[in-house]
């Protein structure tokens, strides 16, 4: 893709166009109405078209004007951080907040470049204790505290 001279702008434009097209397509099912009596489809469709316009200008300009390249360092932090949050969200209702906390801290710790596994176990236990005191006692969190098979 050598003809793209500013990849950051180009892909941002493509992203905007994609969102715009999605908005217009989905909003197509909603009644449009008239300017005086706007239906639920009027505003989103308008915004969608603006989005497509902006995205197109951005992407086309990126072919002419040189700009920054996209820097990818490592996908590890992205996958580990969001992965562990995802797992926390999925298991918390059944596993309870204490064990989910320990799991979240230990899993997410591995994303650091200076990860130390022993330290992360201690951190997990300390944070779990803190969670118990602050959120369970102090703020009466609605999440179950212990796993389903304990209760």
């Amino acid at each position: 893709m050598t003809f793209v001279r500013s990849p950051k702008d180009f892909w941002a434009g493509i992203l905007f166009i994609a969102f715009g097209v999605a908005a217009v397509t989905i909003a197509y099912n909603y009644p449009l109405g008239t300017a005086a009596r706007m239906g639920p489809g009027y505003f989103p469709r308008g915004l969608g078209f603006i989005m497509i316009g902006l995205g197109s200008i951005l992407s086309l300009r990126a072919l002419k004007v040189a700009g920054g390249k996209i820097q990818f360092a490592s996908f590890k932090p992205l996958l580990i951080v969001l992965g562990s949050v995802l797992i926390f969200g999925l298991v918390a209702p059944s596993l309870g907040v204490i064990f989910s906390t320990i799991l979240l801290v230990m899993l997410s710790s591995t994303a650091a470049y200076d990860y130390r596994w022993k330290e992360s176990i201690i951190a997990a236990l300390v944070i779990a204790a803190f969670t118990y005191v602050t959120f369970v006692w102090g703020l009466s969190l609605q999440l179950p505290v212990w796993p389903a098979f304990f209760r």
Binding site: L15, I26, P40, M51, L78, L82, V85, A123, L141
Partner: protein, 499 residues
């Protein structure tokens, strides 16, 4: 005399034991989190918001305002001691503050920042108190057409005054507006963009978006960079300002206060622009500009005062017009909605206790900042020594629990992951997330006012140009865009943000 009576009402509310305690707690917590490197005010507020759910509305807002100032000041501490700005407005503080720390004058830098912030905060509180009543009276006369144009102006100004690509910023606003549509349409009851998911029928929570785009994305980006931090922890001494330093800093503090109070009122102004403007002014006015960047005390005093005054003055458009001017204020709107307060000019008349109580506690919050931070500086410094690998899992957890307790629903946690991915993509593509949050908050209000304006005018779009106030505001928005597109000014703007 109204002013004094109003402030009296405010003191009556703010000086109760409970509210003083919440203000203190907010400032303390805000500083505690804000001091952590790489965490700015937006994720700090988003993270601590759940604590305030159970409080009465006045106390909740007082505490949130306290958190904001605390986070702001905490960010400056980190900027001075570690050269790591927690947020964009303390980038400027890094320039001379860190150099002062390297010369062993960290104590002086920290206390001049605190004193400057206090003076600026006091002045800005008075500005808010005296401008609020007349501005709200004007705002009460606004019809839907004026409101719509005001929001357009606010959004345009917010992106023009911020750094980065204009096209991308406008795109992010529109994307935010689109995200704001998700949920049930108030007029027709139709579910829009909810994909049949029942959890989406009330729309996406703004905390979900703020946490995903700001907190999660920032953590991921921080983890991608392996950087060594150099902390000046053993050299923090001499917190008492010498008379000579004070005399040198005072004019800069006063100028910073003025700049911040003026720029903060503008939509999109706030802390960032004020700090940049003040630094530029100080450099221009200095007899020997070459001292800047090498530990000039004015380079800390001016911007620090300006960013505090600006942070505070940015409450003015929120409290009088109901329009948030930056991402932090967008969060405050969200917080107010959670407590079922509709921000806008009617707050002052319907709920004077809340309004004046909040304003007075802004000032009290500033007092507490000085009282709290200088003696506790040792603790903040110790916090800076905690390695990031131990901090971020805890931050992640608080975010998760915070998002969950919004509606006691796991769905929100999963949505936050989606916005985390989106936030990461935005960073990679250099798209600022703040305009998106503004658009998201303003989206529903904008659609509603557009609908009403065109209903009243029977579908005639010229109503926006024929009503004078509306026309002036739209004209200003166009003017701002033209100014920024003009090549010569664009170059200057880029230079200003480069510095």
């Amino acid at each position: 005399m109204d002013l004094i009576a109003n402030l009296g009402t405010g003191f009556g509310v703010a000086l109760t034991f409970a509210n003083l305690a919440y203000c203190f707690g907010g400032v303390l917590l805000g500083t505690l989190i804000g001091v952590l490197p790489g965490i700015g005010p937006v994720p700090t507020i988003a993270m601590l918001l759940p604590i305030t759910y159970a409080l009465p509305p006045v106390s909740a807002l007082i505490m949130l305002a306290g958190i904001y100032y605390g986070a702001q000041y905490g960010g400056s501490t980190t900027a001075i001691l570690v050269n790591l700005p927690g947020e964009s407005s303390s980038v400027v503080t890094c320039l001379d503050g860190y150099q002062m720390a390297r010369q062993g004058r960290a104590g002086t830098a920290l206390s001049v920042a605190a004193i400057g912030s206090f003076i600026a905060g006091t002045f800005a509180t008075l500005v808010i108190a005296s401008l609020a009543v007349p501005l709200a009276e004007v705002a009460l006369k606004f019809g839907p057409a004026e409101y719509f144009s005001l929001m357009v102006l606010g959004l345009i100004a917010a992106v023009v005054l911020a750094s980065g690509s204009l096209l991308k910023a406008i795109g992010m606003i529109v994307l935010g507006l689109l995200l704001g549509i998700i949920g049930t349409d108030v007029n027709s009851g139709l579910q829009r963009f909810s994909f049949g998911v029942p959890e989406l029928s009330d729309g996406i929570g703004f905390v979900v978006i703020a946490m995903g785009l700001f907190a999660f994305a920032e953590i991921i980006i921080n983890l991608e960079q392996v950087e060594k931090r150099e902390i000046f922890t053993n050299k923090v001494e001499g917190l008492w300002l010498k008379w000579k330093d004070f005399k040198q800093a005072l004019p800069a503090i006063l100028r910073g206060t003025g700049i911040g109070s003026m720029l903060g009122i503008l939509p999109g102004g706030g802390a960032l622009l004020s700090a940049f403007a003040s630094y530029t002014v100080e450099k221009k006015l200095a007899k020997d500009p070459s001292r800047f960047g090498k530990g000039a005390i004015e380079g800390v005093a001016g911007p620090e005062s300006a960013n505090n005054a600006g942070a505070q003055a940015s409450f003015i458009p929120l409290l009088t017009l109901g329009i948030p001017s930056n991402a932090v204020m967008a969060l405050m709107v969200g917080a107010m909605t959670i407590h079922s307060i509709q921000p806008g000019p009617q707050v002052m008349t319907n709920n004077p206790q809340l309004f004046w109580g909040l304003i007075v506690s802004m000032w009290l919050g500033n007092v507490m900042l000085v009282v709290l931070n200088l003696p506790l500086i040792g603790i903040w410094v110790k916090l800076l020594k905690v390695p990031y690998r131990l901090l971020y899992p805890a931050i992640l957890l608080f975010c998760c629990i915070g998002v969950y307790s919004l509606q006691n629903n796991v769905f929100d946690v999963l949505m936050t992951v989606v916005f985390g991915v989106l936030g990461w993509i935005f960073v990679k593509l250099e798209c600022e997330p703040a305009p998106l949050l503004l658009g998201f908050i303003l989206g529903p209000m904008m659609e509603e006012n557009l609908r009403r304006a065109l209903l009243l005018s029977r579908g005639d779009w010229t109503v926006f140009a024929t009503r004078p106030i509306s026309a002036v505001m739209l004209g200003l928005a166009v003017l701002l865009l033209l100014i920024i597109i003009a090549p010569s000014i664009r170059k200057k703007r880029e230079e200003a943000f480069q510095e």
